[in-house]
């Protein structure tokens, strides 16, 4: 017999099935039973809730299984834990969880034994597992990274900080990501136990108009890019008279450096589903699609599984929770195209076509198969679910006048603490870069912060006090985008950065508008000339002028924003462009054509390995004595640089 779970019937009196649903199904699971009074049924629930926290043996071990932790070796750690528990006869439940967002500490594990505080161990290696378990069980928590607050236990004896007091955690507001790294992403029961689907249950008692009203009151704006008010999109779709409407969640995360949607959907997929059902109810949609990038297979897997489970318990399908509302979801794989971030291109992809089209009509009036369609991103619908679970006041407490609530940012590049952090909208960039991400490693200096993905802009270090909200960023030449923040230090060349993004959007231009198709190519060629030492001063004016033409003459937001990296680097880092053009030098020593390879005679031992790998025979020297490179013949293939065991080949 399998064990009883919260999702099962407590006794014969419970009659909920997917075909004949009970309105109070969700609340009953946690607070029930509601329709009858039976002490046994009540205690069954209480015991199970306790079990979910500490396991059947009073000891629970969480191992995060998500794309980022797997890449850091979480699978090996999971196997080591499983072996240790089996061989050592330790009474413990091992459960998977999602990601805490503290990527720089991956992989981690969390141990929770009744009577002891929950302890998080970080950068765990498979071979350390045995020692960690022994220590923890003996009550020695000194090697833990942090403890989780529980309220009932005294922590000060342990000399290990509380997670809430650790730097990157303390500066966050965990609203939409509060379950990430806590809940088992493959268990609907775990989600329900933590308050899941309570938002949906409440919504189904409201008129759709009132649901939209709550979202209007929350001031929630789309978290995917432009920050369009969510309620407005919903209201337009709601007011359309149509037999069929669609609700699409865009999980085709394409911004390089932004992975909050993957993290959310992998760590807490049921929240995405719940928010989606709420949105569909509000606008009257009967069919939903989740559009997931094929390059993120685990995200697709978790979402598909969550959809299946949700349907099994009558929270998707016909007559959801007895409300008369019908809605179902299909997960489909995106074949990958950055332009699909544009709503009309995303719709084209689902229809099996290519390229965006003219707007208006907007998808909210004429979208998928010409029916009214709402498209929201993953983080936005996760916010919707959370707002209805905990109340709109909890959301509006944070943020600015025009941009309410919290937002997840992924901070990568030259920082000590890479990760995904949730903060109130409107905090300064420097808080993100220093207080959360710890600033650059090795005492390097921040040169610029690139925000908003390939269509965003670079903000220079002296403007780091800029508050992060939709309007301020725009006036500084960047955009919020989906919230990818890349910190650039003095080892990077800004012209190269601009060229990189231009190359990205050039490759992603769908080719429909010639301004974008040809303009981006010319833009790229000019930048390429500059990085290869063929630039002229007139090029700088041309770059600016061309950027304006591309932005003004392109149909969709891809072309409309693609020159942003060029414009913002020209605005703030003109001196670097000038150095490339006038002095034919790349100050950061990045652009290969403006860099020379040189043998440091102090380090070279004359082993001759570089001579062997050089394809042009441009390295010479006597064995055992320092060699030298004939720069006229060198093709800068970097093979000598890779091969030299002494690190004696230097770029200058």
């Amino acid at each position: 017999m399998t064990e009883w779970t919260l999702m099962d019937r407590c006794c014969d009196k419970c009659w909920h099935t997917a075909e004949y649903p009970c309105k109070h199904f969700i609340r009953c699971k946690v607070e029930g039973p509601l329709c009858h009074d039976n002490p046994e049924c009540r205690s069954k629930r209480r015991m199970r809730l306790d079990e979910l926290r500490y396991g059947r043996h009073g000891f629970k071990i969480r191992v995060p299984i998500s794309s980022c932790t797997l890449a850091a070796g979480a699978r090996e750690v999971y196997e080591a834990v499983r072996k240790e528990v089996e061989l050592g006869n330790i009474g413990a439940d091992i459960t998977i969880s999602g990601c805490l967002g503290l990527c720089y500490l991956d992989p981690w594990i969390e141990l929770s034994k009744r009577g002891l505080p929950s302890a998080i161990y970080v950068k765990v290696k498979a071979e350390d597992v045995s020692k960690i378990l022994k220590e923890y069980l003996s009550g020695d928590l000194s090697n833990a990274f942090a403890l989780r607050s529980d309220g009932s236990l005294q922590f000060k004896d342990y000399k290990v900080p509380l997670l809430n007091d650790v730097a990157p955690w303390a500066n966050q507001v965990k609203f939409v990501s509060k379950n990430c790294g806590v809940v088992n992403p493959e268990s609907i029961e775990d989600y329900v136990a933590l308050g899941g689907f309570r938002g949906l249950e409440a919504v189904l008692n409201l008129h759709p108009k009132n649901v939209i009203e709550v979202i209007k009151k929350s001031g929630l704006r789309g978290r995917g890019g432009a920050g369009f008010p969510t309620w407005m999109k919903w209201e337009i779709a709601y007011s359309q008279a149509s037999d069929v409407k669609y609700f699409i969640v865009n999980a085709d995360e394409g911004d390089p450096g932004a992975f909050m949607n993957r993290l959310l959907a992998e760590s807490d997929p049921y929240r995405v589903i719940e928010g989606m059902i709420i949105g569909a109810y509000a606008v009257g949609a009967s069919k939903g699609y989740i559009f997931v990038r094929a390059e993120k297979p685990l995200m697709a897997e978790r979402l598909s599984k969550a959809v299946e489970e949700t349907r099994k318990y009558g929270l998707l399908g016909r007559n959801i929770l007895g409300s008369g509302f019908n809605f179902d979801i299909e997960v489909i794989l995106s074949a990958g195209a950055f332009v699909c971030g544009e709503e009309t291109a995303l719709i084209a992809a689902i229809e099996g076509r290519t390229r965006p089209r003219q707007r208006p009509p907007y998808p909210a009036t004429r979208g998928l198969w010409d029916k009214p369609t709402v498209i929201n991103n993953v983080e936005t619908v996760a916010h919707v679910a959370t707002i209805f679970q905990v109340g709109v006041g909890e959301f509006t407490k944070y943020g600015t006048e025009k941009s309410k609530g919290t937002k997840m940012f992924c901070i990568t590049g030259s920082v000590k603490r890479t990760g995904a952090y949730e903060v109130p909208i409107g905090i300064s960039l420097s808080k993100l870069v220093y207080d959360l991400a710890g600033g650059p490693p090795d005492d390097r200096k921040v040169k610029a912060v690139q925000i908003g993905g390939p269509s965003g802009g670079c903000i220079p270090a002296d403007l780091l006090n800029t508050p992060v909200d939709y309007e301020t960023l725009q006036s500084a030449g960047a955009i919020m985008g989906s919230g990818g923040v890349v910190v650039i230090d003095e080892n990077s060349c800004m012209v190269d950065v601009a060229k990189f993004f231009t190359g990205f959007t050039l490759a992603e231009s769908c080719g429909k508008c010639f301004t974008c198709r040809i303009g981006m190519k010319i833009l790229y060629d000019i930048l390429n000339d500059i990085t290869e030492g063929r630039g002229t001063e007139e090029d700088l004016d041309l770059l600016n002028e061309l950027s304006d033409v591309i932005m003004g003459g392109s149909l969709c937001a891809l072309g409309g924003t693609a020159p942003n990296p060029v414009k913002s680097t020209l605005r703030y880092f003109k001196d670097e462009y000038i150095a490339h053009i006038k002095d034919r030098k790349c100050p950061a020593k990045v652009c290969p054509s403006l860099v020379e390879y040189w043998v440091d005679p102090a380090k070279c031992v004359g082993c001759g390995l570089c001579v062997k790998v050089c394809p042009t025979g441009s390295i010479s020297g006597e064995r055992g004595k320092p060699h030298s490179i004939d720069t006229a013949r060198c093709v800068k293939c970097s093979q000598c640089f890779i091969t030299c065991p002494q690190g004696a080949i230097i770029k200058r």
């Binding site: 794309s67 980022c68 797997l70 890449a71 850091a72 990527c103 720089y104 991956d106 995360e253 394409g254 911004d255 390089p256 450096g257 932004a258 992975f259 993957r262 993290l263 094929a294 390059e295 993120k296 297979p297 697709a300 897997e301 598909s304 997960v331 489909i332 794989l333 074949a335 990958g336 195209a337 950055f338 992809a349 229809e351 099996g352 076509r353 290519t354 390229r355 198969w369 992924c410 990568t412 590049g413 030259s414 890479t418 990760g419 690139q450 993905g453 990818g484 890349v486 650039i488 950065v497 990189f500 993004f501 990205f504 769908c510 293939c637 970097s638 093979q639 640089f641 890779i642 091969t643």
Partner: protein
Amino acid sequence: MGGQMYSNSRSVDEVVAGILSRYSERQHLMRILQEVQFTYGYLPREVLEKISQHTKIPLSEIINVATFYHQYRLEVPGYYIFLVCMGTACHLRGNYDNYNALRSTLGIKKGSTSPDGLVSVEKARCFGCCSLAPVIMVVSRDGNERYLHGNVDMREAKKLALNYKALASRKLKSGGQQ
């Protein structure tokens, strides 16, 4: 997701019939192509022509979709495929150099596959593992193997290229998938 994995010993007609028994309409074109690629590791011209005949979707339109999206390959890849992340964090930490190091080590001058047909090197979009930048993912063309390598430098890239090349050659010799 994705449907079941077909054996490559099945004839093209069988494979096409199998896919079209589940998806046959114009609106399912993406799914049809995804299943074809899942079966063969790429989109063979012959299969696309058959699909066009059966579904009455013009071949030009199928090719339009197949060339527009990154996921689809029109040429047979090597046994192992290096997917070099070209996201921002990976670029800043030198993945373009790694990309070139892989290509030069494997002797790839034109296209994306090594002259011996064992290994391919492709540029990929962000995998969302930016904390491990620069990242290189290696997948086998049958989709059964998937390895992620983080914090790769040029030396490591060279090593990876040689290791996977040797592995591919061993697997193909031992009568693995053609």
